[in-house]
Structure formats: C-alpha cells, structure tokens
Point group: C2
Chain length 494, copies 2
C-alpha cells in the first residue's frame, strides 16, 4: 500500500468516493452551511479536499466556520444535491466560531475584501478550488518534464547581477536594527553587505540554468522570481513563480516551442481529468464577471478551454498551435487598425520595431487567432542580449529592420504573454558583441562566456509565468487571486 | 505515448537501455575521455543523463570537454567496462574545447577548487550524480504527499516579520543606484521601502502554511528559505531549500512523526530503485573521504543507507524509527560523559534545560542509536512560541523543569538535526500567553490569532532541510556540495 507508515484518516474527498456502509467513519472539517428544520438540522462540512462538502445530520448547535469532528455512518442521502450524507452519531466541536465576529459571511465577498483577509481567503470555494488547480498544474509540470528527460534543479534566489537591467531588481542586506521611529540608520547600506558585494533577488534563473544545461543537457526549475517594478497592473506581481527550462543540443526553435506546447497541452489535459469539479465551479464564478469581454473575444469556460486545447483528446487539440512572425503580427495589427476608419482600435499604434503592447497581444490571441499563438523572430533591439541572432536574410524587409533574433512569445487570449523563449546565442564572438552593444559589464559575465568557450552547444529555453497560467485556465482575471499571498507595490499583507 | 508533442531525441540514458541495432542513431554530449590506439580512437561522451557515458569509436581529433553530435549504430562493445558502444559514422564537432585553458583537468579537483568554478562544477561525475539524486528526492516528496492527500502550495518569500527573532533575517529594499565607489547613499533605506513597511526574506513558511492548513487541511511547500546568520559551518547555507508541511485535525504528535518517517522512507526507497548507479558512484567517492569518521560511527554507504532505512524492502526497515524524550536523551548524554572518566567526551556539558549541541545530536544518532532517532518534548524555553504546551504532568521531574512542549527533532548520523516539528498551540489563550512571554508584538500577529478564533483545529507540522537530506543520503559531508549554487556569508559566486 502507498500509505506505508502514515496512518492519517481519509479526507472528505475520499469519503465521498466510498459506498454507503454500516462501518463507523470519522470525518473532520469546517462547517460551511447550516440549515435547521423542525426535527433535524443539516450542515455541510468541508476539509478543503474537494468542491463538494459532506452533508451531515445532527442535533447540537453549530455555527458556520466552526471546526468539528464527526463520527457516524455514510448513508444514501434522501435530499437533493448530494448522493451521500453522514448520519452523525457524535459531533465533537473542535473550535468554535462566533458568527458575529467571523469576517466571512454568507453572502459573496468582493475580491478586494478577501485580499484584506488573506489568512481566511482560502476558506472560500473559489480560492480553495484555485489552490487545488494550482497544485495539480504544478504536478503536471513535473510529470511532463520527467517524460521528456529533464532534470529539476534549484537555481539561486540571491544573485550578484540584475540580469535584465538596473532598477527592476530588489536589493538585499542583512537586517538593520529596526529604528522605525525614523531618523538616519546608524550604518549605511553598503557596510551591511552580507556577501561582500551587492546582492539582488533573481529576476530570471535563465543564466544559471544555462550553466546546468551545459552539463545535464535538459533542466528546469519552478522558482520564485522578483520584479521591483512600481507599475501596478492585474498582470504583474512583485513576487511570482516562474517555470523555466533550458535544453541543450537544440538547433531549431521549433524544438523549444514543441516542448512549450507539449507542456501546456499535457497540463490542460491533466487538470481536465483530475480537476473537473474545480473547473466547473471556477467557470460558474467567472461567468458572473465576464461582461467585460468583447463579443469578438468570447470567453471559453475553464472546462471548455481544457477540453479544446488539452493534449490528448481526440478532437482538434492535436493540431499544432499557430505560429506567426513578429513582422506578420505587426502587419495584421496595422491592417486591423487601418480598417477601423478613423477611430484607432489601439491606444498604441502598431509599428515595426516597437514592442507589442498588452492590447496588441490580447487582440492577436483573443480576436485574430482565437487561441494560443506563437509570435516569433522579434527585432533585435526589443530583446535581451542572450538571444540568438537570426541570419539577416531571414529578417523582414522593413526599412528600419536591423535584424531579428530567434525568439518567441506565446500569446493567449485575455492574458497576453504567457511564455517567452528563444534560442540562446551559443557563438562566443556574437555573444560578446551583443553584450557590448547592450552596455553590459563583460567582466562580470566571464563565467557565462566560459560556457561558450568550453564545449559550447546550440541550445534554447523559455520561461512561463505560473500565475498567468492559473489566471488563464481558471478564468480568474486578476493575478492577485492566482497566488495564495500576493505581493505588489505598497502591499504586503501577512 | 507520453511524448505527445515534443520530438526531442533520446538521451544517452535511453540509448544505453536499447538493444544493438542496424538503425542509425543520433547522440549528443560532451567528451569525457579520449583514448587513442594505433588504428582507432575511443572516446566517451556524456549528456548528463546517466552515470555511464556512451563510448564511441572515431577517426577525428577530439579533446575532453568538447561537445559533439554523433551519428552511428549501437553495437555490442568488444572492450571491457561497457556492454554497448556506438560505431560512429559521423562525428560533428559542435563546440571546441582548448585543453590548455579548460579548468577541469583529468585529475580529481578539490571541493574548494570546484566551488570556485561553480559554472562548470556540474560537469563532474560526482556533482551530476548529486543533481540527479536531488531531482529524484524532490519528485519523491511530491509523490508521497500526493499519496497522503496533501496539497502543494506556494508561501511568500517576502514577509513583514522575521518570525524567529531579530537579526537573522535578510532585509529587502528596492534597488539603490549603484554608487559602489563608496560614500553615503543619497537616500536612507527606510525611504526606499517598496511595500510601505519593512520587508524581510522568509526564514520559515510555517505561519503562512498554517493559514492554508486552516482551509485545505493538509498542505506542504518546497521553497527557498533564508538565514542571515554569520556563522560559517558546513551544515548551514544563507539560502537553502526547505520542505515544510502542516496537517490539521491532528491531536497526536505520533501522526506528525508518522508523516515524516513515511516521507523519508518513501524517498530512500524511491532513490534506491531509480538512482542505484548514482548511489554507487557517490559511495565510491565518499569512501575516499571517510577517514574522519570514528570507529563507533561506521558510515553506511549511500546504497546501504537506502536499502537499510528505505520504506518498502522486506527487511528491518519496516520497523518504526526510535523515539526518546529530550529528558531521556540528556540522561544518556550525561551518562556517556560521566563514563569517560575525566576527559569529557563533549565540548558542551549535557544539562537539562540547555540546547542539544550538534556534537550531542550526532552522538545520539550516530553512536547511541546508530540510525535516525526522534527526540521529543523539549523544554519550553528552548523552543519558539507556537509549539503546543504539554500537560505539566508529562514533563520531566528535573528541578529546573519549567515544562515541555509537544515537539520533536529527527536526528540522523553525521548530520544531526534533519527535521524539526511539533504540534502547534491551537488554544487562543495559551498562544497569547506564549507570545507575550516571548516578547512578540501581538498586534502584528492578529491574523495568526484569528486562526484560533474562528474554527481552530488541533494541528501540527514540520520542516526538513533539503540539502541536509541530500548530504546524508549522498554521503557528501559539506552541504555546499549539495546545492548547485551555494551562498554563505562572504560568498556569492555567479
């Protein structure tokens, strides 16, 4: 048996999968609802293991939010709404809950209210469903990468450089005596450097992953990453979880996109099979909010999304997701803008050489393609130094075309960019040139250049924002509801 | 097939599991060794997927460290040391490697030297075996917790309090303009607070996990944790990975220890089955260094350790690991010390009320028990505020006995403490009393107290240092070789 040593009792999810029986059972949980009738009272108890709670009949006084230990028999329910219920022979109150003081009331609370009560937020049906879905998506990452012979590695949180440019990385010092009364701290920050040099929190594990993919060939990590950007949008967090992977001996960007597409299809298919009740519940919640979607961007329900785009169903899902170059994407955006006769569709005019804005990304995936789309081969000036330079003849024929790099963004409806990836520049001279062009202190990257000096290999990789995937799959628009304890500028509760 | 979308080629691990065949194969990797004979040259190529590389014959000039792409047939090897080899028809050099400049030479390097070359360290056999073992241990955590109905959740890295006391937590600010020339920074740290309040890096996820276990009942996280301690030992890192779990509806510490024991036995049994070659290689390496072990503490080889202590073999492993109270442990330590007639065995005299020192922990597990041992019920003054107070009659009869708490440390040979856990104080009044006694600002923990106000449940949990487990299983004494990119005071390479 897999329950070798531990002897934990079954959860409600397991109890509800059983048959009615004369055997005496124990169940534990928090009271979700109570309904009193003349002779008997019904209550539902949940332990967070499933969307459905366990209904039980009892005679004592109970309030919503209280925790109980039940002993009784599992019987067929005569009532509507559930097949099974517990005939409780003993109801032991573990922890009371004063209904006047309890912050979670029967009516639905706003997302803002719940964010002010983070420590209780996971007791709501929507949040606990999100957490179970998130758990399962994470597991499916590990399963998929294992099937593709990748190794899970841990990259550092503390780094000595801020990789993607100054100003966006958090800085770390050892504790300063908390003189929160104000006044100047007695020691300056530089005196407190713990590592003998400035320490930052990682914004991306890529460079460190590349070091490991230069020996283990295929590696990935699911790690926290940090951005000190002050802009506040519902697509950004100061602390988020990122899935990053690097694969060696890969000369074709299609191989990298194939891993991305395989990963996401596998994950969608996996949650479709294991989290159907969660997807249905989240769909019912999202429906209530979806008035803001345009007619063009009809929103798929979470279940429909997983069925349509998941990996191994017999339907159209087995066809490859669409690819288009950045150059093609800009043409499509410009044509759409021009067709609108006067009133521009976009706040930012689409122009070759300019970044795709979030509004552009959402239109491409949501309206033009109506599903995920890989946009490839962006102009070199829009992307970081490590991306592999395309042959010039591959580049667009635009007048201001300074060349493109072998990269891609995976865009999805409603969210925009979900994944960014590229082939990495494996040629020493090209890489040195790109670093100088970006004004990077080459001497700090000698170790990274060493990877090109000693047995360099063609390789590529990508990063996927975990909360954005949860947001897309669950139909939860604000990314702050896609992580248990969100942090954003000015806000760090608990 | 599980390889639905991605079309990555097989790794060397997969190739070596095949039968000889007339089919043409491709293999990629880094040259590990070359051996020239009169008419033909042999080389071994590795892609990091297995202990054994792929031997191939070729005619061109190759150096160790170079990366190659091979095309050829898999044939039975006539030489000793391997069953299969590749008859290469084409050897394409991907990345050259100048043997004069390459920092990894044929002779073994010291751990110190390799730590100075972190970006290449994973190319050594020992480090790549450690990384594959670490990957597998992490997977086995997820498998075990899934089998026990735990949910994987992500707790925050940024926290507003330093949980276990001042001085040991890292502090975070947004980036300061790097005026590394010295001089006073133009702004003080407090002005740069990004979240509007001081931000620290988590030293433990426990309190946040408790919030989630108050709704999902059983949760765990495998996350980075941080300690700004300045002491430098081979058992501590400034940044490490910790497995933490909390389970609700648990009134008995044996239930928590059962999960810990089940988890570790499952993991040892899993790596025994999947990483046998890695365990053998690591054992051969550790043997060379094990001169420092005392005769009493004969070191088990990694394979022997997993076979003896792993979960589901038919041997003695199925018996429960030993438990003893702190009070018993102190008696044993004092008796051993007294028996040594004059010259004390320990630097620190064992005394009820004093912490167990690392030397004590190692003696208890390594010499007295000769294996893992749970030491339970420590004096209240040695442990943090959140541990559940034992009934007084349970406590020792020592004169200075101020009571004990329902906690445990799992001690293992060579390493000392691997896991720490406890029942958590679920009674509001007891918890408030303990917080005041510890001088904690109760108003900052109102959210934590809320968990006891609204449906409080008896519960417990534990934390396991991932690198210490790797150190123990792999027989690698220094924890800096148990994580890809170690950080310790004064040292943050890459």
């Amino acid at each position: 048996s897999r329950r070798a040593v531990s002897t934990l009792p079954p959860t409600i999810r397991h109890i509800l999968a059983q048959q009615p029986s004369e055997a005496s059972l124990q169940a534990h949980g928090w009271v979700k609802s109570v309904r009193k009738q003349k002779r008997v009272a019904f209550a539902e108890v949940s332990d967070g293991s499933s969307v459905k709670g366990l209904q039980f009949t009892y005679a004592c006084r109970l309030n919503v939010g209280a925790s109980v230990s039940l002993t009784g028999k599992l019987v067929q329910s005569l009532g509507k709404g559930q097949a099974l219920e517990m005939r409780a022979e003993d109801v032991r109150l573990l922890g009371a809950c004063d209904p006047e003081a309890y912050p979670l009331q029967k009516q639905a609370h706003t997302a803002e209210y719940l964010r002010e009560h983070l420590h209780l937020r996971s007791r709501t049906n929507t949040m606990s469903a999100m957490l179970r879905l998130r758990d399962r998506l994470g597991r499916s990452f590990h399963d998929y990468f294992q099937s593709q012979d990748f190794y899970n590695v841990n990259t550092p949180i503390f780094t000595s450089s801020d990789c993607e440019g100054a100003g966006e990385a958090f800085r770390v010092t050892s504790s300063i005596p908390t003189s929160s009364q104000g006044g100047t701290p007695s020691r300056t920050t530089s005196e407190l450097e713990f590592f003998g040099r400035p320490a930052f929190l990682t914004v991306s594990s890529q460079l460190h992953l590349e070091a490991l993919s230069s020996s283990l060939a295929r590696v990935y990590t699911l790690s926290p990453a940090f951005r000190a950007e002050r802009g506040v949008t519902h697509r950004h967090l100061s602390e988020f979880w990122m899935l990053e992977a690097e694969l060696s001996f890969c000369e074709n960007m299609e191989d990298v996109m194939g891993v991305v597409e395989g990963l996401i299809k596998h994950s969608l298919n996996d949650v479709r099979k294991t989290c159907e009740a969660e997807l249905e519940l989240l769909g019912a919640t999202a429906d209530a909010d979806s008035g803001s979607d345009t007619a063009q961007e009809r929103r798929m329900s979470p279940l429909e999304l997983c069925e349509t785009l998941g990996g191994s169903s017999a339907s159209s899902s087995s066809s490859a997701w669409q690819r288009m170059t950045y150059t093609q994407a800009v043409k499509e955006l410009a044509a759409h803008d021009a067709a609108s006769k006067g009133a521009s569709q976009f706040q930012f005019r689409p122009r070759w050489g300019a970044p795709l804005q979030s509004e552009h990304e959402k239109w491409l995936a949501g309206s033009l393609v109506g599903g995920p789309v890989f946009v490839t081969d962006y102009p070199i000036d829009l992307k970081p130094f490590y991306m592999r330079l395309n042959n010039n003849e591959d580049a667009g024929n635009n007048a201001d075309d300074t060349g493109t790099v072998a990269c891609f963004d995976l865009l999805i409806p409603r969210v925009g960019e979900l994944v960014g990836g590229s082939l990495r520049e494996e040629r020493l001279a090209h890489l040195e040139h790109a670093m100088k062009k970006h004004g990077l202190p080459v001497e700090e990257y000698e170790w990274y250049l060493d990877l090109r000096r000693f047995g360099s290999v063609p390789h590529g990789g990508f990063g996927l924002g975990f909360e954005r995937l949860v947001s897309w799959v669950a139909g939860i628009d604000n990314i702050r509801e896609c992580i248990p304890f969100p942090r954003w500028p000015g806000k760090m509760a608990l």
